[in-house]
């Protein structure tokens, strides 16, 4: 089921980038919003955070350029922005409704790799939050010299953790017969 969702998602992305129709984009966007109306506000905030900067730069630059050379093609501006919004919303919808680890389990290696990496990243991000708090709590004087000390610490700590995690994971996988050696 999850893999079917993955295939549908991939096909939908190809469709949205092949057929250039505002009606299609509006149609797909509306259906996805209605299917998940409770989470619309939360999702749209993430979507806009993801696309706003780049889209604004392109839109404003294009509008200014065409204003001075010919006339502003508002149809085109609406088309590209709608396409970007729809594709990005589709991706967020898909992520929110799919067990991605299961969907990508067509390859055992990829599945293990993603699961192990993802859990390490989550763990690292928690540690990173604590590190930032620790650095804030011990910084009485703001100094550029502290930057080198703090960033060296981050590199050293996570490098050590990575090496350690690699060995531990390797042992655990061997103990469970997942890998040989």
């Amino acid at each position: 089921m999850q893999r079917i969702r993955l295939v549908i998602y991939a096909l939908l992305i190809i469709l949205l980038t092949t057929i250039h129709s505002k009606s299609l984009y509006l149609g797909v966007f509306s259906i996805l919003v209605l299917l998940d109306i409770r989470f619309f506000i939360k999702k749209i905030r993430f979507v806009l955070a993801s696309i706003l900067v780049f889209n604004l730069i392109v839109t404003i630059s294009y509008a200014v350029m065409t204003f001075f050379t010919s006339s502003v093609d508002w149809e085109y501006i609406v088309l590209i922005n709608l396409r970007v919004l729809t594709i990005t919303y589709t991706t967020f919808y898909f992520i929110g409704h799919t067990n991605l680890f299961e969907a990508l389990s067509f390859s055992k290696t990829l599945s293990f790799l993603l699961t192990i990496t993802y859990s390490q990243i989550i763990n690292f991000m928690k540690v990173m939050t604590d590190i930032r708090d620790a650095q804030i709590s011990r910084q009485i004087l703001r100094s550029k010299k502290n930057y080198r000390i703090f960033s060296s610490h981050i590199v050293a700590l996570f490098f050590t953790k990575s090496i350690y995690n690699a060995k531990e994971t390797s042992c655990a996988m061997r103990a469970r017969g997942v890998i040989d050696g």
Partner: protein
């Protein structure tokens, strides 16, 4: 810079996926020969490490800050194959698992930053290795700029490749004459940040040279 989905034509991203997939498979095979049963755990741990490197904010001259890409430490310490795979994994995780979007731009970023960036950094560093600190800085800036040029070219050809019957662009509207300066100039700062982070990382990590693992070169 994060390029959202929708600006790249399928005529570009589908072949880019095919090329990337081939390169991923090739790099993974080379890595497996070097590390055997430790490949998977080591790759996942190094990817988590590179994810963290991308979170480090680097202050650069001029009073501004930038995020490095992490290809410097990865390429120099673990080799360009490893760096390419790690960066690609990070991009996949960012796109799907951390909700940063960019599923159609994933193979393009993987090729530009992961492949071109990592290999150009590594070989430039090796060429200038006699003057190591200079080698690190020059290779970092050069690799980031090359990656930016590749991205700029891919974006810049969209008005030629992705057009309707009347020749009007359907995807990204600006040509190479706009995209190259627009991408390259800001990435000079990213290149400097990359150089700074790589200098710090190499000097710190040398303390931890677990030679058996770090000697798993290409």
């Amino acid at each position: 810079m994060h390029i959202p989905d929708g600006f790249i034509s399928p005529k570009v991203y589908i072949p880019a996926y095919a090329i990337s997939a081939g390169l991923w498979a090739y790099s993974a095979t080379r890595l497996k020969k070097a590390l055997s049963s430790e490949t998977l755990p080591f790759l996942s741990a190094t990817t988590a490490f590179s994810f963290v490197l991308m979170m480090v904010v680097v202050p650069i001259p001029g009073g501004t800050t930038a995020h490095a890409l992490g290809i410097g430490p990865l390429s120099i310490l673990f080799g360009p194959s490893m760096s390419f795979l790690c960066i690609s994994l990070v991009l996949l995780l960012q796109a799907l698992f951390f909700g940063n979007g960019g599923i159609t731009t994933l193979p393009i970023n993987a090729l530009a930053i992961g492949f071109v960036g990592s290999y150009s950094l590594y070989y430039t560093y090796r060429l200038l290795i006699r003057y190591e600190k200079i080698a690190i800085v020059i290779s970092s800036i050069l690799s980031v700029l090359l990656a930016a040029v590749v991205l700029a070219i891919i974006l810049g050809i969209q008005p030629i490749i992705g057009v309707d019957e009347s020749g009007k662009p359907l995807f990204f509207p600006f040509g190479i004459s706009v995209t190259i300066p627009a991408m390259v100039v800001p990435h000079i700062f990213v290149g400097v940040a990359e150089g700074v982070l790589t200098l710090i990382a190499i000097s710190v990590i040398r303390r931890f040279d677990r030679s058996r693992i770090l000697n798993a070169k290409n």
